[in-house]
Amino acid sequence: MARLHAEEMVLNMGPQHPSTHGVLRLKLRTDGEIVSHIEPVIGYLHRCFEKHGENIEYPMVTPFTDRCDYLASMNNAHGYAMAVEKLMDIELPERVEYLRIIFAEFQRIASHLVAVGAFGLDVGAITPFLYCFRERESILDLFEMASGARLLYNYVWIGGLAHDIPPGFVEKAYEFLDYFDERIREYDRILTGNKIFIERSADVGVMPAEVAINYGVTGPCLRASGVNHDLRRAQPYSIYDRFEFDTVVGKGEMGTVGDCWDRYNVRVLEMAQSARIIRQALEQLPTEGDVKSAVPKKIRPPKGEIYSRSENPRGELGYYIISDGSSVPFRLKMRSPAFCNLSVINEIGAGWMISDVIAILGSLDIVLGEIDR
């Protein structure tokens, strides 16, 4: 039956809208409830990260990387520090590497908790969101213990860490991990298995693997499409090759591979894997070592350029740095994962209803700070 073609209405979703995860504007062309075309308009949160980067010295950039993806500050700073360290050929003490992994994985859990909770919120379940935030607060407590800040840490420095961890941190970390395993089962009960939730997310916004790769979608979204690609496995950076963990891949248990439910579930399962990595890292953590011993006095990388990438909770985070030998980066580009992940929204979201577009957007887990930089 030929579809009756009615007049289309342009609907502005955002910049002020409860479910755009920041100041994003989506121009929707709608036919009734059906959305026929989505055009994301971004840039409302543009804070000139790259321009700033070209005007301040290398260590000063770290606080700005924290602010790009404010839900994954540790990962961002880690990626940036690694890039500069590679450029300068800095060897890190073992303890620093382990602590960085611990913090990066804790941050991944914290970020996924927000993603999972906010996705629940997008499909209308308010309560799981608060449970997720409760757990996240415990992680932030750990971060506060170590770094002194709760959101923007400036903790991972080029060549080391700002401080060593305080006594009692390891015990508290174990305590949290024991408590957290129980909580994941609770999310399964209240959200993952919930029939309404499955109806809302399964088979919705299916992203085939080719589309995902072609659009540069990375991270949990790519893995949910059935592509077994995790930088921590494929190109192990830092010391990820020393840990045992599984790359979680979407299997389409409730619908099609690559649907919203898969993207959600990959995150839930990844949290368990991150917890597993943290446990191993805490066990192997060397007791001795000065976290600042490798911090260079003057940071002047030699002339050259580097593209360094790492696995952020949202996907592949790349830093492209050109150095002209001075203490200020000549060019600093951040390849942010959410930027690419959002660009796919028209491909997978067109043809669905307004409610589904919200769900798809939530399942992509974007952070506008990182998209607009």
Partner: protein, 417 residues
């Protein structure tokens, strides 16, 4: 009730100069004012309760600052809303925009006219009470569409359209599930429906069971009808998981997007009034209305004994498994049982105050609605329609037939005569 009230007023010397008609009008207005106060207080209390319930479910505390345990928080909020600036968007339709909220409030307000609160306490004891309540509460949709359209906002329009589709669809399961009960009792008068649920329940019409004779326990079909009614009624009052007309994460606030201040407060008032109507109707049709669970002495004793047994079983089996089970409800039931056994007069007293019982029953239903709301995600529009037309409607239809068959089998109606 109005007439009784009027003649009661005329007894007093000071008022005897009034004629019968003015006294009736006065009585009517007084009752209307009383109901309005009830509606307003109802919203204040329910908003507070909802906040607390949601907070406790979400490991929070909820309002704690204004008044003891935050009890006056909603009063403070209501005052704030009253004092807010009256904003009407420039391109909104000025008349419809103003009228819309009032229509919604009016519709949910007048529905109370037929609700029996206690024996003899019904503002208008009409023979088509059930029909009246169901039909008048669907007038709400006119107000919603009106305010959604008048806001001149695309989100509001979406909310209004969704609401119209939803309420119209869910009218049918609501009607059919109520019809199942009506088929058993044979009247639309709410007082008579309640009266028919007196006494001790009978399983399959001849085995006495430890429950009162409420329609929810009457037969499996009526139990199913009760469930369908609850689901459909949740949709009728636009609460999660069926809150798509205002679905906060999608449509900002749906038809209420452009409203603020007192008009917005009216939406709130009517939302909770609607919830109360639905809860009361559930209580009346399926839970015996103002009937006490212990309708007479024998029934009370029987019920108490069975409750005791149940409580003991619960304590023995569940207490073993769940570590931190609260002992209070069981303790209360046990105490009541003992008291009722020792002092039959108390058991009879427990049976009498209808207002208390209907409030408790309504409260339970409202708590159930809140419980739904703070647990479930929201359905999509088409899934909502699917649920209504492809699940609830067929089941309700079959159920209605099932009730008829049941009645015929148990001899309540005969196909021959």
């Amino acid at each position: 009730m109005i007439d009784a009230f009027a003649s009661w007023m005329l007894q007093f010397g000071a008022l005897s100069w009034l004629g019968t008609t003015p006294a009736t009008i006065l009585a009517m207005s007084l009752v209307a004012v009383a109901i309005f106060i009830f509606v307003a207080l109802n919203a204040l209390v329910l908003v507070y309760v909802e906040r607390k319930v949601s907070a406790f479910m979400q490991v929070r505390l909820g309002p704690m600052r204004v008044g003891p345990m935050g009890t006056l928080q909603t009063v403070a909020d209501a005052l704030k809303l009253l004092l807010k600036e009256d904003i009407i968007p420039r391109f909104a339709d000025p008349i419809l925009f103003r009228v819309g909220p009032w229509i919604i409030l009016l519709a949910s307000f007048v529905a109370f006219a037929a609700v029996p609160f206690s024996p003899g306490w019904v503002p208008a004891d009409m023979s088509i009470g059930l029909f009246y309540v169901v039909s008048i509460s669907s007038v709400v949709v006119i107000g919603i569409v009106m305010s959604g359209w008048a806001s001149n906002n695309k989100w509001s329009l979406y909310g209004a359209m969704r609401s119209a589709a939803q309420i119209v669809s869910y009218e049918i399961p609501v009607g059919l599930s109520l019809l199942a009960a009506v088929a058993v009792v044979g009247t639309l008068n709410l007082q008579e429906i309640i009266a028919a649920q007196a006494g001790v329940g009978n399983l399959f019409h001849w085995i006495p069971i430890p429950f009162p004779n409420w329609y929810i326990f009457h037969s499996p079909f009526l139990f199913l009808a009760g469930c369908i009614y609850l689901i459909a009624a949740t949709a009728e009052v636009n609460r999660t998981p069926f809150d798509i007309p205002e679905s906060e994460s999608e449509l900002v606030a749906g038809f209420m997007t452009e409203y603020s201040g007192i008009r917005w407060a009216l939406f709130f008032l009517s939302e909770y009034a609607n919830a109360a109507v639905v809860a009361l109707l559930t209580a009346i049709v399926f839970l015996g209305g103002w009937q006490s669970p212990f309708a007479d002495l024998a029934g009370a004793r029987f019920g108490m004994i069975s409750l005791t047994v149940l409580a003991l079983i619960w304590t023995i089996f569940v207490k073993y498994k769940v570590k931190r089970l609260s002992i209070y409800p069981i303790g209360t039931i046990l105490a009541l049982t003992v008291i009722a056994w020792l002092f039959p007069a108390f058991a009879i007293w427990l049976a009498t105050p209808g207002l208390v019982w209907i409030a408790i029953k309504g409260g339970v239903v409202i708590f159930l609605l809140m419980w739904f709301r703070w647990t479930f995600p929201r359905l999509r529009v088409d899934q909502l329609m699917y649920l209504s037309w492809k699940v609830l409607l067929p089941i309700a239809l079959i159920n209605l037939a099932g009730v008829a068959v049941w009645m015929w089998l148990t001899g309540a109606i005969s196909l021959v005569g």
